[in-house]
């Protein structure tokens, strides 16, 4: 059964089409990522599921029930907010138990459940503290526990890792992933970080200008982008324009090629000039210009490095050139 279904859903703010005719289908138990640059409509989609926004057109279903006329407090979904939105006047245990208190549970019962949820996010014993006494990562976990304690059927996460530093973010990514496997709740995760989306999600929807550009598994999105935007935004892949591809293959369609699949060779179908080199640790990134087209190539650290300004030839295996949809 589908957990969340969008049927041609739009949310317009005056002339601004924040979400424009989006249809999607999120399966039960799935870890679904909405990926896109800021202003692409992904957060508005999440808010439509939560009920903070109402669609101007289209239907939204949660487990088959139409919800577009249901206020947030009547939906069986919970949200982890980008700024966590913990209540500053309540301590951690009362924050976590808030939903249960609203549901009318007694003090002892809800505190026991909240303590259990805190254990789940490895914060047992922190109940008496105020949110202001916690670090960013701890607040994030409290926000997670506060949502999970209500046993939602869908958990919505709005860029929950955005405010954390890199190390903590990587750690939380793994924890979220294992938590999702353990609880088997449908996770809908909004992020602008392609690495995060690809590493965590079962399926990814790429948003741009209020529309879904492509939906697929991380491998689909990464290796088989359908349009240049996806190739560029998600994979930082090289996008070859139609004219160039026509010259190389005879087909008038844009194509993409992964930087690590591009090879510097003595002979090759494409000639380019080296415009910059940067050291990345595992590899060296070579910036290239082939006419008007900018390309990047990742060289293994043991490969011979060209000099800046040098003219080089580029080569690749035939299967590495991925053809995309024309006219996009």
């Amino acid at each position: 059964m589908s957990a969340v279904t969008f049927d041609h859903v739009s949310r317009h703010f005056g002339a601004v089409k924040a979400v424009d005719g989006v249809s999607l289908d999120i399966a039960e138990g799935e870890f679904f990522a909405m990926l896109g640059p800021s202003g692409s409509g992904k957060t508005t989609c999440l808010r439509l599921i939560a009920g903070f926004e109402r669609p101007t057109a289209g239907n939204i279903r949660i487990f088959g029930d139409p919800v577009q006329n249901l206020p947030p407090y009547k939906r069986n979904v919970n949200t982890v907010f980008q700024d966590y939105a913990l209540f500053p006047h309540l301590n951690v245990i009362d924050n976590v138990a808030y939903g249960l208190m609203i549901a009318g549970q007694g003090r002892r019962q809800r505190h026991a459940a909240a303590e259990e949820a805190l254990e789940l996010v490895r914060l047992s014993g922190y109940g008496a503290r105020k949110p202001s006494e916690l670090s960013g990562g701890q607040r994030q976990r409290v926000a997670l526990a506060r949502a999970l304690v209500n046993k939602p059927r869908v958990l919505l996460l709005d860029e929950p890792l955005g405010a954390l530093d890199l190390r903590l973010r990587e750690q939380m990514q793994e924890e979220l992933k294992s938590l999702q496997r353990q609880l088997r709740i449908t996770f809908v995760f909004v992020t602008h970080d392609q690495g995060e989306a690809l590493s965590m999600a079962d399926r990814v929807a790429v948003f741009d200008h209020g529309q879904i550009i492509q939906t697929g598994t991380p491998e689909d999105i990464y290796f088989r982008p359908e349009v240049p935007f996806v190739a560029d935004f998600v994979g930082s892949s090289n996008v070859l324009p139609e004219a160039l591809v026509a010259r190389l293959t005879g087909e008038s369609r844009p194509a993409s090629i992964r930087p690590e699949r591009l090879k510097l060779a003595a002979e090759g179908p494409l000639r380019a000039r080296v415009t910059g080199l940067s050291f990345l640790g595992l590899a060296t990134r070579v910036s290239l210009e082939a006419g008007d087209t900018r390309l990047t190539c990742l060289l293994p650290q043991d490969a011979a490095r060209p000099a800046e300004g040098e003219d080089v030839a580029l080569d690749w295996e035939p299967g590495d050139l991925h053809m995309m949809k024309a006219g996009a």
Binding site: A50, Y73, T79, L86, P88, Y98, G99, A103, A147, N150
Partner: protein, 318 residues
Amino acid sequence: MSMVRTEAIPPQERGAGIGTRISDVLWRHPAVLIVLLLLPPALWLGIIYLGSLFALLVQSFFSIDHFTGLIRYEFTLDTYAELFRPSNFDIILRTVTMAICVSLASAAISFPIAYFAARYARGAWRALFYLGIMMPLWSSYLVKIYAWKLILAKEGILTWALQGLHLEWLLDAFLALPVIGGNSLSVSTTGTFIVFVYVWLPFMVLPIQAALERVPTSMLEASGDLGARPGQTFRHVLLPLALPGVIAGSIFTFSLTLGDYIIPQIIGTSRLFIGQAVYQHQGIAGNIPLAAAFAVVPILIMGVYLWIAKRMGAFDAL
């Protein structure tokens, strides 16, 4: 372009004026600067402000000789005991009750206004809000009170408007009520109450608005997300977070009502409020000790009030 040749000046000789030398001394001794800056306000606060308050406090421990009308400069608690005589204690009760009612009504009226201003008003609406709230403060306090006297008088615009609506019977029924009624609104306790609320309202709206402005929208959304209906969100999230603002506003409305003697003088019954009692005792009656004792009452009440507010956790979210 012409080249300008500059002579190198040794740093010691650069700008040897008196201002520069003072600046140099202050830069080397920052403590001197702090003392210079704080000395005038500290003197003002310490001597003129707290000193006069202390003098007032001392007066309240003296008493008056009822035969000669002279003040006896001996320490006694008799004057305070006099406050508990029914005629005096009535005044205190009446004033405190009025201050409580005025604060509650101000808070109830202010909250929706402040909420709208904090959450929805942008641009021109926001300017209009500030103008609407502040403008009554720009005109004279006395003018406003006399204007209200005319509005509330028997021949005033309110009666006229109610006559036009054939609702005069409603006003008459209200005025027939004991305690809060009277001959007309301008000579009733209700009239005093209305004018108090009108005059102090800005002092309640602005702190509440400032408090609500600090509550992020996501906090209210989170509450709804966790199952709370709007009423529950108000009770469990919005009100607790706005409480410091409500308390701050009520400190104004409460203490200003406790001390005011002009509004009940012009609008209302002949029954006294604390401010009027102080005025009469120190003026016509010449009973400075009793006037001082009366003046101490609002200070004590406010002290107790703040202590209770703190105990209730009103300042926890600050």
